[in-house]
């Protein structure tokens, strides 16, 4: 087993453990911390594939901004452990096989078109970051400008939602 494959399996295993822990934990802060583990592992996988820019953005935006926002809200609202309501027995016995079936069908659907790249591995894209920036400001410049508008609307929406009503 090559070193790269070993690193992949370690990171993938950590990511899956983190995702399972997200489901398992009852307190939202524990779920949030395990989600951070998943995100850092995914950033490592992006680095392993040679997508450095996406890895950096993943750490900065997901690990740095979005998760801090989540933890901030959990602390602000003083969220406690979630109250479990009674599951019906059917949910327990049908839910897990259904989840497995969903995962398997997604995996089959995604892997099948990739059969053409059955033995494909990742190729090193020369000057990937430069290509991304060129593409972002030439081909995709209108969607890019639209995202700035989207963020503006999101800021205003969050402000309007969170402000206290004036009496």
């Amino acid at each position: 087993m090559s070193a790269v494959l070993l690193i992949f399996f370690v990171l993938a295993g950590l990511a899956i453990i983190g995702a399972v822990n997200l489901v398992w934990q009852k307190h939202p802060i524990h779920s949030a911390l395990s989600l951070i583990v998943v995100m850092v592992c995914l950033a490592g996988l992006y680095l392993l594939m040679g997508a450095e820019f996406v890895a950096a953005v993943q750490i900065i935006v997901y690990g740095g901004a979005i998760m801090v926002l989540f933890i901030f809200v959990i602390m602000l609202l003083n969220a406690g452990e979630e109250e479990r309501t009674d599951f019906s027995k059917i949910a327990k016995f049908v839910g897990l096989p259904l989840a497995l079936a969903l995962t398997a069908s997604i995996a089959a659907a995604v892997v099948k078109p990739a059969a053409g790249l059955a033995n494909a591995t990742q190729v090193a894209i020369p000057k990937a970051t430069e290509q991304i920036s060129t593409m972002l400001f030439k081909e995709f410049v209108y969607p890019f400008e639209l995202t700035s508008f989207l963020i503006l609307v999101a800021i205003m929406g969050a402000l309007v939602l969170a402000q206290r009503e004036k009496k």
Binding site: V4, A12, I16, A19, V20, L22, V23, P28, S31, A32, L35, V38, L42, Y46, L48, M49, A51, F53, V54, V57, Y62, I66, L69, F70, V73, I74, L76, L77, A79, E82, A99, L100, L102, T103, A107, V110, V111, A114, L117, A118, N119, T121, Q122, V123, I125, A128, Q131, I132, M135, L136, P143, T147, L150, I151, A154, I155, G157, A158, L161, A162
Partner: protein, 100 residues
Amino acid sequence: MVPTQYYLILSAILFGLGAVAFVFKRNIITIFMSIELMLNAVNLAFVAFSQSFGKVHGQVFVLFVIVVAAAEAAVGLGIIILIQRNRQSLNVEKVNLLKL
């Protein structure tokens, strides 16, 4: 190097776990986090395809997904604060105004 299919299978597993968390969890913040997990799984598939075809289009798309996820998190957490203020609870079962 790692075969691309491994990445795709990992992506499917993470997406499935996110869907499970979305359905099973009762805390609205955790439900939001499971949406983020599903978006991350999709991003992984995007980058894996991008790297195996040798084109950066997928990575540009990942940037757009991340931007939309950030905007969604900002608005969604505002909504969560409002729900907590109005219902004094984060349990989604308490948000039942439209239920029969």
